[in-house]
């Protein structure tokens, strides 16, 4: 198996982008990634793009109409689609192109231009009465709260933490300078028990990475983020007795990931994590759901400040999905921000000395999971 590393990262500013086209959006991120890697379009062997349902923009199979913008004419280009987890699935797909030894340098892009359409409409299958993603997850969050005994302020704390972190990230969509717990508590209750300010925004944006093998790393100017392990797991959306709070697929995915990486104590051995938290309570839920902390303890980690940038297990230093959510890109942004951390390129939200970082995404009815571990060390031992 060939080794794979992230050698270039590019992002757009996440916000409603009215001044450019979708072509412009993806090119911007792709160009930034190429510049970071000090490569040109011609150096790319293959392109992998990922995005959420086409109905979000009304462009079907966009690899066909975006290939020109991404310099992919005459090259292999394909498009991954695994619902909300797509950004991470796409990063993983791109990594396998390198790890297989079949391609040397790959460009991967995740994007969404939600302002062209309407996310709530699309997520509801284009019907009236769409409950949106929040409406689907709120009942399960209620179940988590009932089962874990968590106090209501847990979700609010996450909402504030991630938005304060976002103030350090110039690319983040939401820069809520005056965010406080009170403001979150007073914001409208969209899907009880989720307040409006506990929910992610609807963003436009593109995120890109250039991946290469050992030879490519040797030629690249900046510190690489080595891909140490990746894993994906899927289960049915619905079946008798399905645990929607701690899905088995999420547990299995984490176990497979840690095993591949040689990680035996994720809380201690992973320095920081970018976890897909579109609704505040998913932070404690995934801390438990991915075996970072025992069941019913996730909310304690949050409450005691362990997941703050100053804590022992920082989560979503970039502001996370709660601060920027171009759905097709969000999973890739998690993977890319994990890479930023171990490359030392996370600017104001850098965790000092971060050596091993987790990038994570989930999607669908919390039945799709995709995760990766990156490190500044090609062969980290634990």
């Amino acid at each position: 198996m060939e080794r794979c590393a992230v050698i270039g990262i590019g992002q757009t500013k996440y916000a409603k982008r009215h001044e450019i086209t979708m072509d412009g959006l993806v090119r911007w991120a792709a160009k930034n990634a190429l510049e970071d890697a000090q490569l040109d379009w011609k150096d790319i062997d293959a392109v992998v793009i990922g995005k959420a349902p086409d109905a979000l923009e009304g462009v079907m199979m966009p690899e066909l109409s975006l290939a020109d913008a991404l310099g992919a004419i005459g090259k292999p280009i394909h498009r991954v689609h695994t619902a909300g987890s797509v950004g991470a699935s796409t990063a993983i797909s791109a990594a396998t192109l390198i790890e297989s030894g079949m391609y040397d340098t790959v460009l991967t892009v995740g994007y969404e231009k939600q302002s062209d359409g309407n996310a709530t409409w699309a997520l509801g299958g284009g019907r009236s009465g769409s409950q949106g993603a929040g409406g689907s997850f709120a009942p399960w969050i209620r179940k988590y709260i009932m089962g874990s005994g968590a106090p209501p302020e847990v979700g609010i704390k996450v909402a504030v933490k991630d938005r304060l972190n976002a103030l350090r990230n110039p690319n983040a969509h939401l820069h809520l300078y005056d965010i406080t717990e009170e403001k979150v508590r007073e914001s409208p209750m969209l899907w009880d028990p989720l307040h409006f300010l506990e929910s992610c925004p609807s963003s436009d944006g593109a995120a890109a990475m250039v991946l290469s093998n050992k030879a490519g790393v040797e030629k690249s100017p900046n510190k690489p983020a080595w891909v140490i392990a990746h894993a994906k797991r899927t289960e049915f959306t619905q079946f008798p007795g399905r645990d929607t709070v701690k899905p088995q697929a999420g547990v299995d995915c984490a176990e497979a990931l840690y095993k591949k990486a040689g990680i035996t104590n994720p809380r201690k051995q992973i320095d920081c994590a970018e976890i897909y938290v579109p609704f505040s309570w998913y932070e404690p839920m995934w801390l438990e759901g991915h075996l970072i902390t025992p069941e019913k303890e996730g909310w304690k980690m949050t409450l005691e400040g362990a997941t703050e940038i100053t804590g022992d297990f920082p989560v979503n230093m970039s502001g996370g999905v709660l601060s920027s959510n171009p759905i097709g890109a969000s999973g890739m942004i998690r993977c890319l921000e994990a890479a930023n951390q171990v490359r030392g390129t996370a600017g104001e939200y850098q965790i000092d000395g971060a050596r091993v970082a987790l990038g994570h995404a989930y999607g669908g009815a919390a039945n799709y999971f995709a995760m990766w571990i990156v490190s500044s060390d090609p062969d980290p031992t634990f």
Binding site: M61, V80, A83
Partner: protein
Amino acid sequence: MANRQGTEDIAIVAVAQTPSYRAYQETEPLLLMSLTNEILTETGLERNDIDFTIAGSCDYLSGLPFAFVSNVDGFGAWPPVYESHLEMDGAWALFEAIVRLQMGDIDTALVAGSGKSSPGRPREIFALQTNPYYHAPIGLDPISMAGLQANAMLDAGKATEADFAEVVSRSRRDGLKNPFAQVAKDVSVDDLLAEPYHTQPLRKHDLPPISDGASMLLLARGDRARELTDKPVWITGIDHRMESSHPGLRDLTVSASTKIAADNLGIDGGAFDVAELCVRYSPEELLLKEALALTDSVRINPSGGPLCGHPVMATGLTRVCEAARLIRKGEAGTALAHAASGAALQQNLICTMKGDA
């Protein structure tokens, strides 16, 4: 530019497909479930013996964002499985599966393609694949693009309408022998040419039918392949390439991306017994034959090809299945399968394979 083929030996060890239906009365997951069960029964495997599963399908065909999520019901995902999905023809899922197996750490991959074109109006839907500013709003559809491509070939003297009719006549006659075919008949070139134009210079019979259907295959690596079948079909190469989405920048009288893929694989167009090509519109056969430099000794589309059944998102993978099936039956030793996406052969994939000597 690196596009190597990898060092692992990977083989198709089982194939399954549904017939092409004008309108399948049940749901897509059931289409897939029948194939999953067929492959598991044939190989004697349990569901969790399969290391990786990947499918191709397209939500827009059924008009429902996230339609692909229900398809997971068809493959089985309990206990949880390692799987992925592309919003593309299953042939590209095959590509990802081959890439994944080339990593050398897992042994088996289940690959599927499926789609029901019957609920919607494909000619309206597929216009949405084009440039969203310049072409989608005027409903520029694949049939019209195929008409432009056909006319370009006639104008350039590269084909005649009789050549198109020959492809249709031969394909639909061959379809009579294919139990999965939807449209098959014995009709002469003269009778075809007597039909009125539909999208001139194409006639209705130059177009594919509207179909529902699915296909699936199981890949295995090295020794595992030999454990699972005594008739492995070894993948000797896979490559895919894209052309511009601006048709004005393309020469529609050649299939440039197919040629790039063929050149990268270093294939010899005379070296195949069989070529299963994604010929949705009859002129495409001539373009592809030229781009692949197929000699007259190569049997093209013995299955009848997509002109006999076009379950969009499975059609390309079905070409691989048909070619592999012939090799497993001992009726061919080497084969090339081709898949296409986008209007007028904008994107093309080639997969070459051979049986044991």
